[in-house]
Amino acid sequence: MGPHTDSAEEAALKLELRGITKRFGDLVANDDISLTVEPGEIHALLGENGAGKSTLMNVLYGLLQPDAGEILVDGKPIKIKGSNDAIAAGIGMVHQHFMLVPVFTVAENVMLGHEPARGGFLDHASADKLVREVSQRYNLPVEPDAVIEDLPIGVQQRVEIVKALTREVDLLILDEPTAVLTPQETDELLEVMRGLKAAGKSIVFITHKLREVKAVADRITVIRRGKTVGTAAPAAPESELAEMMVGRSVVLEVPKKEAPPGEVVLQVEQLIVADDRLHRAVDGVDLQVRAGEVLGIAGVQGNGQSELVESIMGLRPAQAGKVSLNGRDITGWKTREVLKAGVGYVPEDRSVDGLIKEFSIAENLVLDLYDRDPFGGNFSLNPKAIVESAKGRVQEFDIRTQSPEQPAGSLSGGNQQKVVIAREMSRPLKLFIAAQPTRGVDVGSIEFIHKRIIAEREIGTAVLMVSSELDEVVALADRIAVMYRGRVLAVVPPETPREKLGLLMAGVTEEEKS
């Protein structure tokens, strides 16, 4: 690991991909894709989930071999057979799912794979020094001695970037880096990207979020169904980018009728819930959700929203307080009973709580209905009915798959989420709870999911929606409850100015301001 002595201009790397084609059996994931990343630019690769962005980057990073096409670095064609070749060529990658050892420190993770050693012993001191040096140089504050699992997601990601930078790479691939971040962390990351660009690094930024692309990219390449659709300048209007990405015009605003709210369906009174570390995550929450209205819970993630919802669902015990559904006390009910009482639940993390990836789509569609007519009885299941009903759901909810008997894990994120939503909406509901319903979901699917939520509201279901995306809450909710540190600070109408909502999310109330 030598010192970084190159000047910014020299460090920059020009990358060209020419006619990259990658097939998986009959499926062409990348079809003759060409793209050029100029030295020192942030090049956004925009496309829906399943468009072939990650495949392209895995080809570039040597994790997959292309069937045709070539990769040129600074004009010279190179063969990349694995990540080591990529790193040697000056290309680093930060994966969507971090490749960090949770129980190791930052410095240990950074040196993993090329451990500096002195006389057979690991040289911790020089690893620490390297981390400090890189983090100072690129303004990426990380503490070398901190243990990864204690760090927030945003900082873990910073560690991944530091790790890539210590390999002296000149081009960084960031694969969906903002999917796991809070809005604040996202802004910080965008700042970091600008800093890296200023330091002469090129960045390939893979995303499907238009706002971020417009905020940071120099150039945008849009990919749809394995092909490049075109390039655009960041000044292009959002609707145009969205249209290129999805292939048709997208309605970003959700039309909804005025719906007079009915009687109270969900009533939460003075609820207190502890999180896994037994800290009080929900600290005396009062909420009411009425039939035919959407109550949006806004707030930065980790302010008790997850615990609140889990407690309503019977997945987490309430320490005090009361939850009632249509006037019936359901506090302490088992999850199965809550679901049976007419509650639909879309959990926050679909890959952990929402789906069984190894199960077929059809099986996932009956995951909480398998013991009901016509899918099954006390002893047996009726696979025929399960598959038949799945065919209908797949069509109705626009789940893009070859067959409902494919494993759910083979679907893209947006389609996986549609499976969860289809399942929860396929029975009569009194209350629909959706936690982060569109996290990690492409624009086309977001539009669809929003429409379904509004449709559910219009037939008189009470909807409780938790989202850390303020845009989403504002677009869908009839009333917005802002949560901060386990409490509901205020319940406000969606017309409330953004600044005021932002302040509330940061814990500043009117009284404190004055």
């Binding site: 496309g47 952990v352 709580d353 069984i356 909480d368 002893f379 893009r400 070859q402 893209s412």
Partner: protein, 445 residues
């Protein structure tokens, strides 16, 4: 995707190349669904069989693992026999003779194994000429089935919890408890066979089940790891059996060694071919159990819960399943199956309780489950194979003079090769299985 015949991998036109909207105005991917469906139906079963035959699917890998293990066994045989090994010192003088001698020795051993496990052609010929009885012809297969029955049951006892994400090392202890339960009924009661036999079987089933439930409930309520608990319960069960058979009510007063009174005739599993052949109802019991488990996993409600918990307990509990109860009941079921395995030993073959009444069926069950890919019918097939190896090993020892221990080595090698499929794929340069490749295509971009 217009051609009727399936194209070799990678050359078929891609679904992505079709126009975004078809004539009917349906979105492209809905059209694709129909076409792909047709494409699939056009591939006949035979074509798919041919495609899969030499590909890296689990069946081919398992078969090749068995062949590799037999090859390793052959090398060990040559090394283990003094005459043959010494001949190898003259390999460069008499290469042909050396190879011929080795080949003959190995071939004879494996032929004897086959004769002892499936059928002996000589016996068959003599039966044709009326020189021996049909019972003699069926004896090898009878031995194989007798050995296989308990292995299938303990194999299921390991495979079923595996599907729920639990590693049951305790089939041995559960089988012992089952043998104790069934044996006690058989020794103590002498009711009419129509009552006594089912009663003994049920008690054996329940005793094993209870022993398994103990593990499940500890896991569900306290989080105790099932591997640790089952290993410990194995010791407890084995030592309990040693103590139990010395009780005055159980011990055979006519014998000085640790052996129980014999099981009453009314509780013995009936012989299904002929009284002179050992094969009994136990193999029927084992195959019924495999069928029941196959039904349970594919069609049963509990099987659905079990698989859900095995793959993703978080999603299962979010969907309202009772994860703890499922774990406890799965272990109870596993224990009951192993208990049934022990039951077949005491009521079918041993007919007394001794220290080693269940042999090593619990541990061999782990191997059977792994070879059978933790699928019920796979376990049944693996159990039959292991049963055949064991009965063949006896014949090989008697006639070819190769130690029976070699069978243990072969069994272990099979499981090692099955557990390391990459090795088998590399040795035989297997093609990528079309079905496996298809499932590996991630829609994620």
């Amino acid at each position: 995707m217009t051609s009727a015949t399936p194209e070799p991998e990678g050359t078929a036109p891609s679904p992505d190349k079709s126009p975004p909207h078809s004539e009917e105005g349906r979105p492209y991917w809905m059209v694709e669904v129909g076409k792909i469906g047709k494409h699939r139906r056009e591939k006949t079963l035979w074509q798919r069989f041919k495609e899969e035959l030499y590909a890296d699917n689990s069946f081919t890998v398992s078969v090749l693992a068995v062949l590799l293990a037999l090859a390793v066994g052959a090398v060990l045989m040559v090394l283990g026999n003094d005459t043959v090994r010494q001949q190898w010192a003259y390999f460069f003088y008499q290469p042909l003779k050396t190879l011929e001698m080795s080949w003959e020795f190995v071939a004879k051993a494996y032929t004897d194994m086959f004769k002892g496990a499936i059928v002996n052609p000589d016996t068959f010929n003599r039966w044709i000429w009326g020189m021996t009885t049909w019972q003699q012809v069926l004896r090898p297969i009878s031995e194989t089935l007798t050995n296989a029955a308990p292995l299938i049951l303990t194999g299921l006892a390991v495979a079923i919890p595996f599907r729920a994400g639990l590693f049951n090392i305790g089939a041995q202890g559960q089988a012992i408890m089952g043998a104790i339960g069934a044996g006690t009924v058989g020794i103590a009661l002498d009711l009419p066979a129509i009552i006594n036999l089912p009663l003994a079987i049920i008690v054996g089933f329940l005793c094993g089940g209870l022993w398994g439930y103990l593990v499940g409930i500890l896991k569900a309520k306290t989080g105790a790891h099932e591997v640790i608990v089952t290993i410990m319960l194995n010791y407890i069960a084995a030592l309990f059996l040693g103590w139990y058979i010395l009780r005055p009510a159980i011990k055979d007063p006519a014998r000085t060694d640790a052996i129980s009174k014999p099981v009453n005739e009314s509780a013995l599993l009936a012989k299904i071919f002929d009284p002179s052949l050992r094969v009994s109802l136990s193999i029927v019991l084992a195959l019924l159990a495999a069928a029941a488990m196959a039904w349970l996993l594919n069609r049963g409600r509990f099987g659905f819960e079990l698989r859900a918990v095995g793959h993703n307990p978080h999603a299962a509990s979010t969907a309202g399943m009772k994860v703890g109860t499922t774990i406890a009941m799965t272990m109870a079921l596993a224990g009951a199956l192993a208990g049934l395995g022990g039951t077949t030993m005491v009521l079918g073959t041993a007919t007394v309780l001794t220290d080693g009444v269940v042999g090593l069926i619990g541990f061999n069950g782990i191997l059977v489950a792994l070879l059978g890919r933790v699928k019920p019918w796979g376990v049944a097939a693996a159990g039959l194979l292991f049963g055949a190896l064991q009965s063949g090993g006896q014949a090989m020892q008697t006639f070819a003079g190769v130690s029976n221990e070699l069978v243990t080595v072969i069994q272990a090698m099979i499981v090692i090769f099955v557990a390391a499929p990459m090795l088998v794929k590399a040795i035989f340069r297997l093609r990528r299985s079309p079905s496996q490749a298809a499932s590996a295509v991630l829609a994620k971009g």
